[in-house]
């Protein structure tokens, strides 16, 4: 069936070479070297990796009524695209929007990331795993300053999102990528479950989900990583002044509550 979906999409955009890189419940993620509207030789401005683009495709769901299906696909696709643009406006590092075909559930965006020394993709997960393999008691490279800075940066990104009333909805170490080998600047990706929310509960759950993901995916150093992420999260709220400080304390006290409840989504990550 998955092949059928890929074939259908390929038929819709026959001139675009597609490479499937992941499949979730709702969308398929493809990589392509073909920009949707710029001919070869014309590079888009201000993207990290010209010549590499991501296509996110929400295929039709045949189980639901076609009318409902169209409505859901179009609204989800356009709200995700809008969010990507909003993040660009806000200066939050995230994949830049290139194009959208809402009725057909397609978003083109910038590809972020690079290849790690072990040939894997530079998701935070893969990078930390690599460092954790190389760590030993005398040289815990997974706890080096560059990891600390990176975690701070992640915390700051999440903080900026929250300060602007946006929750990511699915924070895991796979949904955070390093965008640059030299600076290790992190970026959040996959905003498919993101939403606007002013509720401390939603922000707290956002944090909680990431903490769980860290603990299950990186059990040895999770505590340190999490401490550094929270530091960055705290700093960016602090810099926002009184409003930020208030928001921070609301979120954190709710976060502690959510942690106590600790009953849900225990397998995330």
């Amino acid at each position: 069936m998955r092949d059928q979906i890929v074939d259908d999409l390929q038929l819709r955009i026959p001139t675009v070479p597609l490479r499937l890189i992941s499949q979730g419940a709702e969308a398929l993620i493809f990589m392509t070297n073909q920009h949707p509207y710029l001919p070869a030789g014309v590079n888009p401005c201000d993207v990290d990796n010209p010549g590499k683009y991501i296509i996110k495709y929400r295929p039709p769901k045949p189980y639901r009524h076609p009318k409902l299906d169209k409505r859901i696909t179009a609204t989800r696709t356009s709200s995700e695209a809008k969010l990507l643009h909003k993040l660009y406006q806000l200066g939050v590092k995230a994949p830049k929007l290139i194009a959208i075909d809402a009725p057909n559930g397609l978003i083109w965006m910038e590809f972020l990331g690079y290849q790690l020394p072990d040939m894997r993709y530079s998701s935070l997960k893969n990078w930390l795993w690599l460092l954790e393999r190389e760590s030993d008691r005398d040289h815990p490279v997974a706890l080096a300053d560059n990891v600390k800075d990176c975690c701070n940066g992640i915390g700051r990104s999440i903080g900026v999102l929250h300060l602007h009333g946006i929750v990511h909805g699915d924070l895991t170490t796979s949904n955070i990528v390093l965008t640059d080998e030299a600076t290790l600047k992190p970026s959040l990706i996959d905003f498919g479950l993101s939403s606007y929310s002013g509720l401390p509960e939603d922000r707290a759950v956002d944090l909680y989900v990431l903490e769980r993901a860290l603990k299950s995916t990186h059990p040895v150093y999770a505590e340190k990583y999490w401490e550094w992420i929270l530091d960055g999260y705290h700093d960016v709220h602090e810099e926002d002044g009184k409003r930020g400080r208030k928001k921070y304390s609301e979120t954190i006290s709710r976060f502690k509550e959510v942690r106590m409840r600790g009953r849900k989504r225990t397998m995330i990550g």
Partner: protein, 371 residues
């Protein structure tokens, strides 16, 4: 491997358990038989009796705890008698007596546990308190042969997406407000359609005749969902329809025909079930499973089964569902899950048999599975 026979009676090649269920408006009693050794396709549980009595409130009303408890008290002893007779089992041959400890409505739960306590002392049998949701899940697995499915549990009081991991049935998604069955029941009340055989069944029949899809709110939040806003909205549409309003939204935007009650039932089902299938699929992707098991009263709905089947098919997987004997609350599932627990050493002292209205699925340590 879990030793499923550490507590077997010497020389007896099988187990027998009687189960009693009364957490909502159905009272059920069942008798089940397990043979020694782990259950598998060559060693299936045997259903020896499965009897039920349903309390139906008058049209336009929901069942109240007090009335339901009275119904259960009136019938519980007679139903136990009937189940024993059907099964041909002698009381002295039973190994344990299982009862629903929760979750559910307090008064009905308590009305049944009193009978269970008395009988366990009379017959000198150990009591096993069973989580109602676990009962559904284990019975569903046994009947369908699904090994490790993502479970959608949909009933009058519950809406949960559950998957097994490390000795617990964990809740991945659930309703943030009302349960799906409750939502359908309450809409049936708005429409004043009969509660017999069940409000949900009657909505399903009406929905088959609907042809216009009316736009309703669609409220999925990750793996959770919310239904109270949808109910409020569709209730409002129904009231406007009955009061003869001529507003534009009461006419189909394509053919201009007036919306009917059937259309509302159809639209409500399509909308709610799409949400359920969506969160189930998300959980399946999350735990990397391609089996889905639907349990609970709403699981009988054929449209829901059909939609879930299409989704599972698209994931190269399969759907497992049971018929009304098992998806609607029953005593046999309590007997079955209770017996599994009994076989690995679970049992409740009398003072430990208090019912718990909010007994969560993930509180139970599932000792009888080792995967």
């Amino acid at each position: 491997m879990v030793d499923m026979d550490a507590f077997a009676k010497p020389g007896k090649p099988y187990y027998l358990a009687l189960g009693m269920e009364g957490s909502a408006n159905k009272l059920g009693v069942g008798v089940i038989k397990h043979h020694l050794g782990p259950l598998d396709e060559n060693n299936r549980a045997e259903i020896l009796a499965n009897v039920r009595s349903t309390y139906n409130a008058p049209p336009g009303q929901g069942f109240l705890p007090r009335d339901t408890a009275r119904h259960h008290r009136n019938w519980v002893v007679r139903l136990v008698e009937k189940a024993l007779k059907d099964s041909g089992v002698k009381v002295s041959d039973l190994d344990c007596l299982c009862f629903t400890q929760g979750p559910g409505m307090g008064a009905p739960l308590q009305s049944v546990v009193v009978a269970a306590r008395t009988l366990s002392q009379l017959w000198e049998l150990p009591l096993v308190g069973v989580n109602h949701c676990i009962g559904h899940i284990e019975m569903g697995r046994e009947i369908t042969g699904a090994r490790n499915p993502v479970v959608l549990y949909v009933s009058g009081g519950n809406t949960q997406v559950i998957a097994y991991s490390r000795q617990r049935y964990r809740i991945f998604g659930e309703t943030l407000d009302i349960a799906i069955g409750n939502c359908l029941d309450r809409f049936a009340r708005t429409l004043h359609i009969p509660n017999d055989p069940s409000p949900g069944y009657n909505i399903e029949q009406l929905a088959r005749k609907g042809k216009h899809l009316v736009e309703l709110p669609y409220t999925v939040k990750g793996m959770d969902l919310s239904m109270s806003g949808i109910l409020e909205y569709v209730d409002g549409l129904a009231h406007d329809l009955f009061s003869g309003k001529k507003s534009k939204y009461l006419y189909d935007e394509e053919d201009g025909e007036r919306i009917t009650v059937e259309d509302l039932c159809f639209s409500l089902q399509e909308n709610l079930f799409s949400m359920l299938v969506e969160i189930t699929e998300r959980a399946m992707a999350h735990v990397d499973s391609n089996q889905v098991l639907i349990v609970g009263g709403v699981g009988c709905n054929e449209r829901l089964q059909e939609m879930m089947g299409i989704m599972a098919g698209d994931r190269n997987g399969s759907i497992y569902a049971t018929d009304e004997r098992f998806c609607i609350d029953n005593g046999i599932m309590i007997a079955h899950a209770g017996l599994l627990a009994y076989r690995v050493g679970y049992g409740n002292e009398l003072e430990d048999t208090v019912c718990r209205q909010k007994f969560r699925t993930d509180e139970v340590y599932v000792k009888w599975r080792d995967d």
